[in-house]
């Protein structure tokens, strides 16, 4: 069996909204192994965002334990949380969340600036490297609003990769993209996953979840289904299908 990246034990998260207590997570037990591509699914209010915040070390669970890369995170302080986000997690958001008026290269370099251990000796070289890896070698000096949505999301993915994290956490990464670009982005995820990077995807669209290898479904703060996908969709095939559909449309 390969290494466990994420392990949660009876994870509970309770919010207080006025006098009401909202139980967003009601005891979640989940293990994610190295090299997996997991989609977390659920309707809004299912607790998937809260779950993502907790495993992304943006938020602490009320009770329960969360091990990331065999480190118990629930007892860490704010600064240690920041360090984990910097070193072990790469975020990809729905809204890309790039710094505006800042070039792609500078955006990708940013996480390395906050690395107190300076693990990567030459930040610029590394940033160039990952940008080339996501296919943006020729767009490095462009600022976000000179790039298309798909390109912006690639920059964001490059930024997530630059610190060589244990885990990439993608929150609705294609929510703002058209279907063709979305499939392309999933193609990139699949490629990265093939290279050995663990990816956890949060989405509410089953079509896209099918690109992953395993789907975990949440409802009302609990896991209701957790199953491997026998035959995930491949982005290359889906792109072909889209093209044929386009051609057919033009003919008719």
């Amino acid at each position: 069996m390969s290494k466990i990246i994420i392990e949660t034990r009876n994870l509970v998260k309770t919010y207080k909204v006025g006098d009401m207590e909202v139980n967003a997570l009601k005891g979640i037990n989940l293990k994610i192994f190295e090299g997996e591509f997991v989609a977390i699914m659920g309707a809004s209010g299912s607790g998937k965002s809260t779950f993502m915040n907790v495993i992304g070390c943006l938020d602490q669970p009320t009770t329960g334990d969360y091990f990331l890369d065999n480190v118990l995170t629930s007892k860490l302080d704010k600064n240690q949380y920041a360090e984990i986000r910097n070193q072990k997690i790469g975020f990809v958001f729905q809204g890309f969340n790039l710094l505006s008026r800042t070039t792609a290269l500078e955006n990708v370099e940013l996480p390395l600036m906050y690395d107190r251990h300076h693990r990567i000796k030459d930040p610029k070289k590394k940033a160039v490297e990952v940008l080339e890896r996501v296919g943006l070698g020729d767009r490095m000096d462009h600022v976000p609003n000179q790039l298309s949505g798909g390109q912006q999301q690639r920059v964001a993915i490059a930024r997530a990769l630059v610190n060589e994290p244990s885990l990439i956490l993608a929150d609705e990464p294609t929510g703002n993209l058209d279907s063709k670009t979305s499939v392309e982005v999933f193609g990139l995820f699949q490629q990265l996953n093939k290279e050995g990077i663990t990816i956890v995807l949060v989405t509410h669209e089953r079509d896209y979840a099918n690109f992953s290898k395993r789907i975990v479904e949440l409802r009302d703060g609990k896991i209701i289904r957790d199953k491997e996908i026998e035959k995930p969709l491949t982005a290359t095939e889906e792109l072909e299908k889209l093209k044929t559909a386009e051609v057919n449309q033009e003919i008719s």
């Binding site: 920041a82 975020f91 969340n97 710094l99 940013l110």
Partner: protein, 405 residues
């Protein structure tokens, strides 16, 4: 984050919105420039006053006849004693802290000579007078003790008198008639300008006191005595000594008041300097208030900036920035804004100083200290007013910050 990247990030962020940054820094620019210019004007005024006082002779002591103060009791007419040469000679013989001494005998009146006539004051003095007043001749020579003994009818013209009677010619050797008594001009004084009280120093004629006493004022009384202490430090001893000698000379018993007044130039200088110092302080603090107002402007804009950039803060937090990193980032921006404002303010102050010195009569003396102080103060303003917004930014919750629209 490394120091260099913190600074570059701050500069980039400031340059991203140039106009806003400039307007924000404007408060500091004006504040710093105002502090420097105001204090420099104060310093300039101080220097002006000091120069005027120094032009009178810094060790100068003047002894006037009459009570120093009546102490609430009016002294009857005739109680005011007048000085004679006996007083001067006695001081000359007995005083040890007095270097030079001269009687002043005044005689006003019309002076005829050269191209016309002029009304001025003729003063009978001793040859030491020039040393007392730290005055020099621009041409010719001064009269000597011999002229005093022989009551020579010689005189030295002030530059103003020379200008009016001999506008184009060299007056030396010419005769002028002072109240119809002919005097030979043997020298001309250097121009000294206005005194601190606004009297034109150059509108006078100097002559041997004996000649003026005998031929013009007609009597034996002298108007007052000017003397010069051996040094500025010995001024108090000199004054005490003079008081003692004069009391003895005038046979004044111990409970009685002096019948003369001793004034010294240093006291006057001190008083004037103290006044201008207060003025400098006042001007400086009024300008300092504007610097603080500028700081509030920075705080205001930084608070807006934190709100506007909430999402950016969220992004930075999510990729691993610590609260301290965010704090340092915003604080650095505030400090850079205020320091660059300070720098521009210093240049502005130099420009205004140049204009004041070259195109107005109000001099400005820019001291290095005030440049340093106001620059440091602008930095302190940045730290003080930048801290609250920076802390607000640093304390943001990453989840809320990321979701902020």
């Amino acid at each position: 984050m490394k120091f260099k990247s913190i600074i570059t990030a701050a500069i980039k962020s400031i340059l991203k919105s140039r106009m806003r940054s400039l307007l924000t820094a404007l408060g500091i620019i004006i504040g710093v420039a105002a502090v420097i210019v105001m204090v420099s004007i104060g310093e300039g005024a101080q220097k002006q006053v000091q120069e005027q006082i120094a032009s009178l002779g810094s060790n100068l002591i003047i002894i006037y006849p009459g009570a120093s103060n009546s102490g609430g009791v009016s002294r009857g007419a005739g109680s005011i004693n007048r000085f004679t040469m006996d007083d001067v000679n006695r001081i000359k013989d007995e005083a040890t802290f007095i270097k030079y001494i001269s009687p002043i005998v005044r005689a006003g009146g019309q002076v005829i000579g050269g191209v016309g006539n002029w009304n001025t004051s003729t003063q009978g003095v001793s040859p030491e007078y020039l040393d007392i007043r730290a005055w020099k001749l621009s041409s010719g020579e001064f009269f000597t003790d011999k002229d005093v003994i022989s009551r020579s009818k010689v005189c030295v013209l002030g530059s103003e008198v020379k200008k009016n009677l001999f506008p184009n010619d060299d007056p030396i050797g010419s005769l002028v008639r002072i109240r119809n008594v002919p005097f030979k001009v043997i020298g001309v004084l250097e121009e000294k300008g206005q005194s601190a009280m606004g009297v034109n120093n150059d509108d006078l004629i100097l002559a041997p006191w004996s000649s003026v006493l005998d031929r013009l004022s007609g009597g034996r009384y002298i108007n007052f005595i000017q003397a010069s202490a051996t040094s500025l430090a010995q001024m108090p001893q000199a004054q005490a000594e003079l008081t003692k000698i004069m009391r003895e000379a005038h046979k004044i018993q111990s409970p009685e008041d002096d019948d003369f007044t001793i004034r010294n130039q240093a006291d006057l200088a001190d008083a004037a300097t103290a006044t201008t110092k207060v003025l400098t302080l006042l001007l400086g603090s009024v300008a300092g208030v504007s610097l603080i107002v500028g700081g509030i402007g920075i705080m205001n804009i930084m608070l807006v900036s934190v709100t506007e950039r909430t999402r950016e803060i969220g992004i930075r937090l999510s990729i691993g920035a610590r609260a301290t990193d965010i704090l340092v980032q915003f604080l650095t921006e505030a400090i850079m804004l205020s320091l660059s404002g300070g720098l521009i303010g210093i240049f502005l102050a130099f420009g205004m100083g140049y204009i004041l010195n070259n195109y107005t009569s109000q001099p400005a003396v820019i001291q290095p200290a005030i440049i340093f102080i106001s620059f440091a103060f602008s930095g302190a303003v940045g730290v003080f007013f930048g801290f609250y917004p920076a802390r607000k930014a640093a304390n943001l919750n990453p989840i809320d910050a990321l979701r902020y629209e």
